[in-house]
């Protein structure tokens, strides 16, 4: 009996800790966002991070999307041919890519690159007193460090996902036409026929949310790192893991919200 109560207490405490953590992160996010609607705004910082995310993540995201589209075509062809359903292949590729794989894979790749680098940079600034120095130099660290990164993350992921969508579909098209015997024109027609605006829009909204989450976890973990190099290392790992899990969780929530019948 007391065992069971202990267990209950343990679960309860963990749940409260998680809720408390989520609450503190939410307040952190709101404070960061509040600086976006009140001047001054650090445009130079925003631009630096926007370019870092949108431009320098292009190769990684493009390659990921291209290969994913290719694998998708190959895999589903072997599956579908058992039922004589090969004609469904173009629609399967384009819908999976725009709705799911484009935003999720781009999000995960960017979480690895950007979440880690934001946490490492801000964490290093924390443990070397640079964040305190900002305060003594008449600059609010939330305004200078966090707000521009949150905005950059949110705005930079959607264009990346547009590129990922195009290259993913192109990867499927390459394999289908070069290897699986599809006629190029009819493959493209089938792709356009099935695609609806909502498929792309839902993917872009997901991308914006994922970008925000990546920047938020990078900033949060970096901002609260302590100790020396080791603490920064932990913050970096934590930022990437937390961002990846949040991406998958929010992907489910957003999918359920967009495509509920």
């Amino acid at each position: 009996m007391s065992r069971a109560l202990d267990l209950l207490a343990l679960v309860g405490r963990a749940a409260f800790a998680a809720l408390g953590g989520a609450g503190r992160i939410a307040i952190f996010a709101l404070v960061g966002l509040s600086h976006l609607v009140r001047p001054p705004f650090h445009a130079r910082q925003f631009w630096r991070h926007f370019v870092e995310i949108a431009y320098f993540s292009l190769p990684v995201v493009a390659l990921t999307a291209l290969f994913t589209g290719m694998v998708l075509a190959l895999q589903s062809h072997t599956g579908f041919s058992r039922f004589g359903a090969e004609t469904a292949l173009p629609s399967l590729v384009v819908l999976s890519i725009t709705r799911e794989l484009g935003p999720v894979l781009a999000g995960l790749m960017v979480a690895g690159r950007i979440g880690a680098s934001m946490a490492a940079e801000i964490g290093t600034m924390r443990v070397t007193d640079q964040i305190d120095a900002l305060t003594t130099l008449s600059t609010d660290p939330m305004r200078y460090l966090v707000a521009p990164r949150l905005l950059a993350g949110t705005l930079a992921l959607p264009p990346l996902v547009v590129v990922a969508d195009i290259l993913g579909v192109f990867g499927g098209f390459l394999i289908a036409t070069l290897q699986l015997g599809f006629v190029p024109q009819s493959y493209l027609d089938a792709t356009w026929d099935v695609l609806e605006a909502m498929d792309v829009i839902s993917g872009l909204v997901k991308a914006a949310v994922f970008g925000f989450l990546i920047a938020l976890m990078g900033c949060w973990c970096g901002y609260h790192s302590r100790g020396g190099a080791q603490g920064v290392g932990q913050a970096t790992t934590r930022a990437v893991v937390a961002a990846s899990i949040l991406i998958l969780a929010f992907d489910y929530v957003l999918t359920a919200a967009f495509f509920k019948q």
């Binding site: 940079e121 600034m125 007193d129 305190d132 305060t135 003594t136 008449s138 600059t139």
Partner: protein
């Protein structure tokens, strides 16, 4: 004493977890004078200064600047107050994502008192005051030696012409000659600005060079205050032991044998 102290601390207490770092610090810093705060490593010198700057909230106690209780100021008044202070951090804390000139003029740019173009020229002037060439402005902090980083950090602390300046171990880790050079720069800057200075050090030569007054902190309390000139023969056993660096005396290091 008729003059209101520039900085007045009363009963300042701060604990981190179980550890009582500040245990009732009382300190007065006279306006336009230079006070040095002495004390062993880990005695709470940096924490004291961070409390005054509002970077660490104290658990208890009063911090007054110009006779005003800092805790009672509005956000705006507090921001205005700290617009007029400068701080040199123990390890420099230069922004390594910005070139030296932008570090030096960071506060002026943040307060929109300068355009970026004018800031470059102003940075060159301030760098000259700490004995650095204008060309240093285009380097990155990581490209500088320890002594140069300290000088750039000093330039950053004084660029906005503060009237209270804090120096946290400005000469620690430098060779004696560079240490003396930095001390000289600090004395010059404080005199030129007519500022009030509070410096942390555990280097006696340095303390005598830059201080008018001195105070010693031990176990979270101020145990002695007096003139910096008397350091070494104050008659206070703890201070004299500290100043002469002897192992025998009232201060016992907690070493396990």
């Amino acid at each position: 004493m008729s003059e209101t102290p520039k900085i007045r601390l009363r009963g300042l207490r701060k604990a981190f977890g179980e550890k009582q770092v500040l245990d009732g610090v009382d300190l007065d810093v006279r306006p336009r004078h230079s006070m040095v705060l002495l004390g062993g490593s880990g005695s709470g010198k940096s924490v004291t200064v961070k409390c005054i700057l509002g970077l660490i909230p104290p658990d208890e106690g009063v911090i007054e600047i110009d006779g005003q209780d800092v805790a009672k100021l509005s956000r705006r008044e507090r921001a205005a107050l700290f617009d007029r202070t400068g701080m040199l951090f123990q390890n420099g804390a230069l922004f390594d994502s910005l070139p030296v000139w932008e570090n030096v003029c960071f506060k002026l740019l943040a307060q929109r008192r300068l355009t970026r173009r004018a800031a470059r020229d102003r940075a060159a002037e301030v760098l000259a005051q700490v004995g650095l060439a204008a060309s240093v402005g285009d380097l990155w902090p990581a490209e500088l030696s320890g002594g140069m980083q300290k000088r750039v950090a000093l330039a950053r602390a004084i660029a906005a012409q503060p009237d209270i300046i804090f120096f946290d171990e400005p000469t620690t880790g430098l060779d004696p000659i560079m240490g003396a050079v930095i001390d000289g720069l600090i004395v010059d800057c404080v005199e030129r600005l007519g500022a009030t200075a509070l410096s942390i050090t555990h280097d006696m030569a340095s303390a005598r060079r830059i201080g008018d007054d001195a105070a010693m902190i031990h176990k979270g309390r101020i145990v002695w205050t007096g003139s910096a000139e008397t350091l070494g023969h104050t008659g206070h056993p703890m201070v004299d032991q500290f100043a002469n660096g002897s192992r025998e005396g009232p201060i016992q290091m907690e070493l396990r044998r």
